[in-house]
């Protein structure tokens, strides 16, 4: 005999909803009915509990930042056949391209001797904290497909975001906050799909705070603040309680109605708890200055990074900090004017370094993974022989810090020009698998049954890269 899903499920859903994820993994358990039993706790011992993803939308040039290729300087200006991926995808042929040297000088840093350019001098000071992957490759030559691939593991199909998968797998640690938050996400290049739950239950959807283009100081969780004075809001809330109580009494035994009534109680509690977390005013001047808050180029991203640390302390599972805008040529997308990379670097370098420093000081870096990177890298040659670089999904660099990843490691390599990853290649699927592994989740077992089959973040691909772990 079949059972009616809505009542029991909604009560369970509520028990682990937006406001009340009291227990790890309950979120997953609540929907066990529609899929195989998801883990209540992790599949294996976890190295990390949460992720902060610093998303550099548009694609940072790896050959100007962390992937040192002296050959580009030596052969600057020479025409070469590179096999340009965009030309090949569109026409099947590729014209010769002009080699373009990095615009920033490279030098070695720290005890690890990590190569980094002067583009990110502050991050470079953390050379011995970083686990740099220089052999990334991914899918999608245009921003939209590549950005969706980064977030959902698919360029084209409608799939849950990795934050939703992680929340589905592990739940959240704070009953008064959402477990998956995206700070200032863009409307373009995938928009809400980048933090969407797709076919996973709605409780796993990402909660946006702010939006690209809106100053971080004005960003908050929607509808969190009562529009009426607090005494009136309280009186009104008391009335709602009485109405709901009277209505429930005429329909005894309806657990779903009780769950909805309870959701108002949770919302009421959130109104007081959540704003405290979002409020930066209690932070010391030293901390604010560490993130570059109050200084012109760094104020906005600094606020986002500091908020990320506060959310991290409050037990949010997946926090994405977006350096993005709503255009089709987002942020780091320097097709024509590579020197503009310098402006973006000025905006993010200090806040990112400040975040690492702050997490370290507070002992949070041990069980928090910080992931810095874009959806792809950029070509080692000039686009259309101009003064910028085109997209390059075949080889690029990202870095990880904390969360049990090996500090001071430079893993993998691209070819002599920095065009294709060739040594110890790490596909985006592999990175997803590795991040899940660090959180104690097996990417092959974190599945959800939908439309007749089991889905995974990594589809049928992905390999954990054990060498990245300390």
């Amino acid at each position: 005999m079949m059972t009616h899903p809505s009542r029991r499920d909604s009560l369970r859903t509520l028990a682990c909803g937006f406001g009340s994820l009291a227990l790890h993994g309950l979120a997953a358990q609540a929907h066990a009915k529609s899929g195989p039993p998801a883990p209540r706790t992790s599949h294996h011992p976890a190295r990390a509990k949460r992720i902060i993803f610093l998303f550099m939308s548009g694609g940072v040039s790896h050959v100007d930042s962390f992937d040192h290729k002296p050959r580009l300087t030596r052969e600057n200006g020479q025409m070469r056949q590179f096999g340009d991926l965009r030309s090949l995808a569109k026409t099947g042929t590729s014209p010769e391209m002009r080699v373009m040297k990095p615009l920033w000088d490279f030098r070695q840093h720290g005890e690890s001797g990590l190569w980094a350019s002067d583009l990110f001098p502050e991050m470079a000071k953390h050379a011995d904290d970083l686990c740099v992957i220089r052999s990334m490759h991914t899918e999608g030559i245009a921003h939209g497909p590549a950005t969706l691939f980064l977030h959902t593991g698919s360029t084209n199909f409608i799939r849950p975001s990795m934050g939703s998968w992680i929340h589905y797998g592990l739940g959240s640690e704070n009953e008064n906050l959402p477990g998956f938050i995206s700070l200032s996400p863009a409307l373009g290049n995938g928009g809400p799909r980048n933090y969407g739950n797709a076919f996973l239950p709605a409780v796993h959807q990402g909660t946006p705070i702010g939006r690209a283009g809106i100053p971080a100081r004005e960003s908050t969780i929607r509808n969190l603040k009562p529009l009426r004075p607090s005494d009136q809001a309280r009186r009104q809330f008391e009335l709602l309680r009485e109405l709901n109580q009277a209505q429930i009494q005429t329909k005894p035994g309806e657990t779903e109605l009780e769950a909805v009534a309870e959701s108002y109680e949770l919302a009421w509690r959130m109104q007081t708890a959540a704003p405290d977390v979002l409020d930066l005013s209690g932070e010391s001047p030293a901390t604010l200055s560490l993130y570059g808050i109050g200084q012109a180029p760094t104020d906005n991203f600094g606020r986002q990074c500091l908020l990320a640390r506060r959310l991290c302390e409050a037990g949010v599972r997946f926090i994405q900090v977006n350096y993005a805008d709503n255009s089709n040529n987002p942020a780091w997308d320097q097709h024509s004017n590579l020197p503009k990379h310098g402006d973006h670097a000025k905006a993010v370098d200090k806040p990112v370094a400040g975040l690492l420093e702050d997490l370290k000081q507070r002992g949070l870096l041990d069980d928090t993974i910080v992931w810095w990177g874009g959806e792809f890298g950029r070509t080692p040659y000039a686009e259309k022989n101009g003064t910028g670089r085109d997209h390059n999904p075949a080889g690029f660099t990202i870095w990880l810090a904390g969360g049990g990843f090996q500090p001071g490691l430079a893993y993998g390599a691209t070819d002599d020009y920095g065009h294709h990853a060739v040594v110890d290649k790490v596909h985006m699927h592999d990175l997803h698998a590795t991040l899940l592994h660090a959180l104690g989740l097996d990417h092959e077992r974190l599945t959800f049954r939908h439309a007749g089959r089991d889905f995974r973040l990594t589809d049928v691909y992905g390999k954990v890269v054990p060498d990245l772990f300390a």
């Binding site: 005999m1 899903p5 809505s6 937006f18 995808a89 497909p145 290049n189 040529n329 290649k425 089959r453």
Partner: protein, 928 residues
């Protein structure tokens, strides 16, 4: 060369290796190849491991049979062996091992081994278990694929209870399991239930009173009368369209990567609403959406309707910017098949894209038989645009309007011809002008970034500033000039290029404009005089960001003459037009341009519809091995699912096959379509389906709780000519549907009503209606600012990004943007419209509560409702507030609480707060 030396002995035995590998060959395998395979390959390619791509390399048989792409090794022929191709790493789509190229010595060893005839002593082989679904014969016996069968009569004990045949079946099943039907619902409850289920809107107190009075006289007649009234209401189509629009993943923008505005998608929404209101038979309705463009049309109205209907295939979340356009074509086909499969057939066709369906009787061939039909259909305008676009088909108008439109078009053509003649007469400029004398932002050539050897010249005198540059007709493909203007503020600017024309100049100079919304390529013919003032040619008007990355790049690649570049001018779109350099020829051009602009602006415009067309070369499509577009296998003739086989598929060679596909889907012989449809309607009326997984009628879906009931409904539906209204009427006039929600009879017997939450649209409409602000305009477009925009222009997306939802029309007309949803829809489980939705989630999360407690929309309409309440005489106020919101007077404890809250002399604000809490209360959010 140590490697070669060690290989030398083995190279001598090539001649005999293939037939019978001798000891030396085996030794080579054992020393060189076996460790290599074990170290790099077997983790992913062995029967004990993962068998990735279907390939095992742990036995000779493994590579002889090969994986999904065929044999991995052709003994003796390294160049023909996929394994060698993969390790050589030359082909971007086939590179193994995945994590990096092997050392050259190991690649050479593998090549040598293959050349030797691939000696391999490993004969022990365990055949890999391949999971396969039901066979076609087994499948035809499975409940959903089997033909419809009429149910046997069911005996019932309580003969007085059933009113209809449906009631007999339901009561029979319930009694057999020992359950009783719930009592009849009271008329007040039934009034609200009927209104909300049939029109999506709650009834007014007057409507309730009228119905309750009539029901006291004669319950059955009162109900039948109300049902017919509601079925005849325009609101029926507006509400029930939701069912279809959800299935069709209806949206007004593409979403995803670079979201594009579907400016004309509203025509499809209106088509659905009108069709349901006209009770167009659903088989015809389906045929029109799959193949409307191919069906005969009696008149222009029918042609319009049928063209608009095919938007069903074009409305998907297409990633138009995908750079590999063949991949994009295939992605679109996948999406169309997924939607058709789920929405109309209840099948998970996507499972058969990469391999035979693992559970259902759907071989991979069937997927590609269907894909061939869609591959023979055009959904994209072309396969060359950087950002692709859909097909806008012009729509015919009715007689006189069509004649007027054609007359107007002739006039426009004539005027364009005169303008062209006038432009040809423009004289060549002979005097230089200074940069400062020109309007807007002007960048002279010395300020541009120059790559390659360009020569400066002042030979032809009509230049701007200091002269102009030319490429000397040399070094084609190596020279570029880039203008990187700095814009004082974000805005739309017209970009104009000044060049120096002559017969010796290049005919097709490629100019690339990178603007805030993408990239445009414009070709300039420098053999003709610049049309604007004899100096400039317009490159178009684009949006540029302040300090953005925008640039204009001129290259000399693929040019057949001298390329010249003089200057670039950028004029703000809303600025005053610069004064022309006057002479008679200029003046004539200006006058004709103005006249043309006016004529185009005031004349009639031909409407267009998003649509699909048949391709010119219909044919079957190859299997894509493992679903990878470039990995092509056998070509499969077009056809349908073999498990629903009524005779061999006869698809005409001339057409795409969509017409035949439409007939196959909407034919009486296809038991899936009618079962899926009646189950969807049932689920919408009862709260859950007879088959709870409304989108999945395969073996992984739920089984019907009562298969005979489902078939009864489907057969009745066919007898009734696929009429939705008759189907709905038949269900709601059953006694079972009219029961109360009280009691404990399990819901799957459907003899006790299920309490259900209002969905996002019902909730929004009900709040607007109670506040007195709901606008009831029927049909028509509803995106502010979309009217004059070229939807295939990427800047149209700014309409979506900057959209302020301000209208108060019914929610079915709310702009359905994929990347910028109405906040209320996003909060109340209607966020994602990227894929076909069979059943919405119903979540209970705090953001919903926060929305009702704090969102200005709720406060505003609560205030509006409060104003109406305050206008009444004080003794009527509280009862009226409750009746208008909840459809009933207050319960005693509610009355007491409200009176305490209001106090002796409540203000409008007090009433507003009370009304808002009524909107938040449980009884408002649920229908009993």
């Amino acid at each position: 060369m140590p490697v070669l030396q060690s290989l030398l002995p083995f190279l001598l035995i090539i001649g005999t290796a293939t037939a019978a590998p001798n000891e030396t060959g085996i030794a080579f395998f054992e020393t060189k190849i076996r460790p290599l395979l074990a170290g790099h390959c077997l983790e992913c390619h062995s029967t004990a491991g993962k068998t990735r791509g279907g390939l095992n390399l742990d036995s000779r048989q493994g590579w002889v049979t090969g994986g999904d792409s065929g044999p991995a090794v052709i003994p003796g022929d390294p160049d023909a062996s996929l394994l060698i191709k993969a390790v050589r790493y030359h082909d971007l789509t086939l590179q193994m091992p995945e994590d990096g190229k092997l050392p050259e010595a190991e690649i050479t060893a593998l090549e040598t081994w293959v050349r030797l005839g691939a000696p391999d002593p490993r004969t022990t082989t365990v055949s890999a278990k391949k999971q396969t679904g039901l066979s076609l014969d087994e499948g035809r016996k499975f409940w959903s694929y089997a033909p419809l069968r009429p149910p046997a009569a069911r005996p019932v004990q309580n003969q007085a209870w059933p009113w209809t045949e449906l009631d007999h079946l339901l009561l029979g099943a319930a009694e057999k399991a020992g359950f009783l039907p719930a009592p009849d619902a009271p008329p007040e409850t039934l009034a609200r239930r009927l209104h909300l289920n049939l029109t999506g809107l709650p009834p007014s107190p007057t409507e309730i009173d009228r119905f309750v009075a009539a029901a006291r006289e004669d319950r059955k007649t009162a109900i039948a009368t109300l049902v017919d009234e509601l079925l005849a209401s325009r609101h029926f189509g507006e509400h029930w369209a939701r069912l279809w629009l959800d299935m069709a993943r209806f949206a007004e923008s593409s979403g995803g990567g670079r979201t594009l505005l579907f400016k004309d998608a509203w025509r499809y929404r209106d088509y659905v609403i009108e069709s349901l209101n006209a009770d167009r038979p659903l088989d015809q309705f389906i045929r029109e959406q799959i193949a409307g463009d191919l069906l005969p049309a009696a008149d222009p109205a029918a042609r319009r309707r049928q063209t608009v209907a095919t938007a069903f295939l074009a409305l998907g979340p297409t990633n138009y910017e995908e750079q590999d356009k063949q991949q994009l074509r295939f992605d679109i086909i996948d999406e169309q098949l997924d939607t058709i499969g789920r929405a109309l057939l209840g099948q998970t066709l996507g499972c058969a894209r990469c391999h035979d369906h693992k559970f259902d009787p759907i071989p991979q061939r069937d997927y590609y038989a269907l894909a061939g039909i869609l591959a023979s259909t055009r959904t994209l305008f072309n396969y060359t645009d950087n950002v692709a676009r859909w097909i806008d088909t012009p729509l015919p108008l009715d007689g006189p309007a069509e004649a007027a439109l054609q007359a107007h078009q002739t006039k426009v053509e004539e005027l364009k011809h005169r303008l062209q003649t006038a432009k040809a007469a423009l004289t060549k400029r002979t005097r230089p002008v200074s940069v400062g004398s020109l309007a807007g932002i002007v960048i002279d050539d010395p300020e541009a970034k120059v790559v390659g050897n360009w020569q400066h010249s002042t030979f032809s005198r009509g230049y701007i500033g200091s002269g102009y540059l030319h490429d000397g007709n040399e070094g084609k493909g190596t020279k570029t000039i880039t203008f990187t203007p700095s814009f004082p503020q974000m805005g739309r600017y017209e970009a104009r290029l000044a060049y120096n024309h002559a017969e010796t100049r290049a005919r097709r100079v490629r100019v690339t404009v990178l603007h805030a919304d993408g990239e445009e390529t414009v070709f300039v013919d420098q053999t003709v005089p610049p049309p604007i003032d004899g100096r400039f040619v317009s490159l178009g008007t684009y949006r540029f960001e302040k300090d953005g990355a925008g640039f204009i790049l001129i290259g000399n690649a693929e040019t057949d003459g001298v390329v010249t570049v003089d200057a670039l001018q950028l004029l703000p779109e809303d600025g005053a037009a610069p004064a022309p350099e006057s002479n008679a020829a200029d003046a004539l051009v200006r006058a004709l341009e103005a006249e043309l602009k006016q004529l185009v602006k005031t004349g009639p415009v031909r409407p267009v519809a998003m649509s699909v067309q048949d391709a010119q070369d219909p044919s079957g499509t190859p299997i894509r091995i493992r679903g990878i577009e470039k990995n092509r296998g056998e070509t499969i003739p077009r056809g349908f699912l073999q498990v629903i086989d009524h005779g061999p598929a006869r698809i005409s060679e001339a057409g795409s096959g969509r017409r035949e596909l439409a007939d196959w889907i909407a034919g009486r012989e296809n038991p899936l379509t009618s079962r899926v449809l009646v189950n969807r309607v049932w689920a919408r009326l009862f709260g859950s389906g007879i088959v709870p997984t409304v989108d999945n009628f395969g073996t992984t879906g739920d089984k019907p709780s009562d298969p005979e009931l489902l078939d009864h409904l489907a057969l009745r539906f066919l007898e009734d000519g696929w009429s939705l209204k008759r189907l709905v009427r038949g269900i709601v006039l059953s006694r079972a549907w009219q029961t109360s929600a009280q009691g404990s009879t399990p819901p799957e017997f459907f003899v006790r009503a299920q309490r259900r939450r209002l969905d996002a649209e019902q909730l929004r409409d009900a709040i607007l209606l109670t506040g007195g602000r709901l606008q009831l305009d029927y049909l028509g477009p509803n995106i502010q600012g979309a009217g004059g925009i070229d939807a295939n222009n990427t800047s149209a997306q700014n309409v979506e990004y900057a959209y302020v939802y301000a209208d108060t029309r019914r929610s079915v007309y709310t702009p359905a943007f994929r990347n910028n949803r109405l906040e209320m829809f996003a909060a109340f489980d209607f966020a994602d419209i990227n894929a076909s939705i069979g059943r919405r989630h119903s979540s209970t999360v705090a953001p919903q509560a926060l929305f009702l407690l704090n969102h200005p929309f709720v406060l505003e309409h609560a205030r509006a409702a409060a104003e109406s309440t305050r206008a009444l005489a004080p003794p009527e106020q509280l009862d009226s507030a409750f009746r208008r919101t909840l459809g009933r007077p207050p319960l005693p404890p509610e009355r007491a609480a409200c009176q305490r809250f209001l106090g002796p002399s409540p203000s409008t604000e007090d009433w507003a707060q009370l009304h808002q809490m009524l909107f938040a209360s449980l009884d408002f959010r649920y229908v009993d």
